[in-house]
Symmetry: C2
Subunit: 338 residues, 2 copies
């Protein structure tokens, strides 16, 4: 109350040196328990709270990590995926006593402006960066900086970066397999934004599975939906004339759009066209019929990204961490398999 409440002041009131007060504050050993208690009491009584910035400067670690969403990714914040991911990351930060700083780049200017702040040890102890479009400049520069970085998603052009990803290829495979098992032959695909690795990998899984079953990859049955509802809607409209009997959609949101297009064409799901999508986010259960979809553990994914980052911070960047998380087919109604 009276004086500015610094650690010095606490030390003075407890009749010890600042060093000892610091030890008590940080729960370090080598303090007589009697003294420790006395200092703790003073801290409690005065409502002392250490100055985080001073701690950061002196200890050379900020206990802050940054989540960087590059330009254009931010558009996708409409998709439930990113909010959910952010939640997972925030949760993990809380659990590990880290503060989360959010860098949502909305223009090239933003990237230029923030690069100096974040690419330097000081503000941030580490960075989780979402992969953006292939060839993204920001990610390359961040990886080259001396700040520990983990990429959320597979960075195509930086194979030895630390990254966490879901097994998109395997997920797509099991989606297509499911459709094949149900007897579908003309399986179309609505892809995500093909400038992202997630979209590419799912596409790869789709092609691979068809080929392994001696089915042709028919370009007229593939259309890009850019990961948005409206994109999925338009993609489906393009696909309909080619009479697919099943669709693999690279995201739930796009599947929602596809359903709309299908109904507007007077067809029904799953009777006329079966649909499997990817994500298993809220849209999957809101849709009628409910979507059979590839579940990806978005929340856990965010947690894992943070934990991997903390591991890198603590134990250094070598060897590169590559975490691949499993997906799982969730069967609901949109395939008519039950």
């Amino acid at each position: 109350m009276t004086d500015k409440l610094t650690l010095d002041e606490i030390a003075r009131r407890a009749g010890v040196s600042r060093t000892t007060a610091s030890r008590v504050l940080n729960n370090r050993p080598n303090v007589r328990s009697e003294i420790r208690e006395r200092v703790q009491r003073v801290m409690a009584e005065t409502g002392y709270r250490p100055h985080p910035v001073a701690q950061s400067l002196a200890s050379q670690q900020s206990h802050v990590i940054g989540l960087v969403l590059p330009r254009r990714t931010e558009i996708l914040f409409n998709d439930p995926y990113f909010p959910r991911l952010t939640q997972g990351i925030a949760q993990a930060c809380n659990d590990h006593d880290y503060t989360l700083a959010l860098f949502m780049m909305q223009s090239e200017a933003d990237e230029q402006k923030f690069y100096p702040r974040i690419s330097r040890k000081g503000l941030l102890d580490g960075i989780v960066i979402q992969v953006g479009q292939i060839g993204d400049d920001l990610i390359a520069r961040l990886l080259a900086s001396d700040v520990p970085t983990v990429v959320a998603g597979r960075p195509l052009q930086h194979p030895n970066a630390n990254y966490v990803d879901v097994d998109n290829v395997a997920g797509a495979c099991s989606a297509v397999m499911h459709l094949l098992h149900l007897g579908h032959k003309r399986i179309g695909m609505i892809t995500g934004d093909m400038r992202t690795t997630a979209a590419l990998d799912r596409y790869t899984g789709y092609c691979k599975t068809l080929q392994e079953h001696d089915l042709p990859v028919d370009e007229t049955l593939i259309s890009e939906g850019y990961f948005t509802e409206i994109g999925g809607y338009e993609a489906m409209q393009r696909l309909l004339p080619h009479k697919p009997d099943a669709i693999f959609s690279s995201s739930d949101a796009m599947a929602l759009g596809a359903l709309r297009a299908i109904y507007e064409a007077g067809l029904t799901v799953p009777k006329d066209i079966a649909v499997v999508s990817f994500d298993d986010l809220p849209p999957a259960t809101i849709a009628r019929p409910q979507l059979t979809t590839i579940h990806q553990p978005v929340h856990a994914f965010g947690v894992k990204a943070v934990e991997t980052l903390l591991d890198v911070i603590k134990n250094g960047p070598t060897p590169p961490r590559r975490i691949i998380m499993e997906t799982e087919l969730v069967i609901r109604e949109s395939c008519g398999s039950r």
Copy 2:
């Protein structure tokens, strides 16, 4: 490269004092332009980037503001509202050279843990806190702390806090007015979570408008939907037996659920039941029919919250800022008015 790149080092290489180097770094006057250029050149050549934490400590301002989402609000992160709000806030932070720290509380423990870090000047220059449920403890404690704070939404129990809100009452009024003009008499309402002021205010606007038109407020035509799609669906199911001819839904997401329930009951919108909702977020245009809804400027709202906060930081907390933003009726298909 060679030595640790501090301001001292820059000063040494440029042959000036650290004070002068600091002045150049911060674009302050009283430096001969010749010297200024020399220092700038050295900074550019060496790729010098100041240590943000050291700057914070010395200048007593961090250029970081916190966005606090209290417990339970975080659940609503599924609704497109919060991601969009976050985007607006992030944008404004970027534009004003502030870093955004995100505190998404997911448990009481989180709140306890972070309170000391954020309620103290140091880490954060200011806080934008989303109103949570009425009676929320955290918001009260934050308002009592010495950190400049702006509330997003009207904090019922803290009328003289700084806050930014949309005019929920007026918005609800114009929604109901629209339905009245179209000749509807049995106008039902799906409310949001009634422990929030947004839900209460919209409910108030609904009641007020009915009363002003000498219509009864019929409890059987009102049901709580908790701001979720599924909540809206269930609320609508409860309402259907009482034969409303129109529905005012307190959010787009709930309207989506309501539409589902209406269709499942074999009725159509707008023929059998007209629907007006609130938000004008992506679900409004995805829905079939597209939703007539009260547009609220979510993005601008986030921007305004930040700008108000910066104003408070700069000019002090008095007088209390109370910003109310306007809403607007957007007519689409779900009322059949065209």
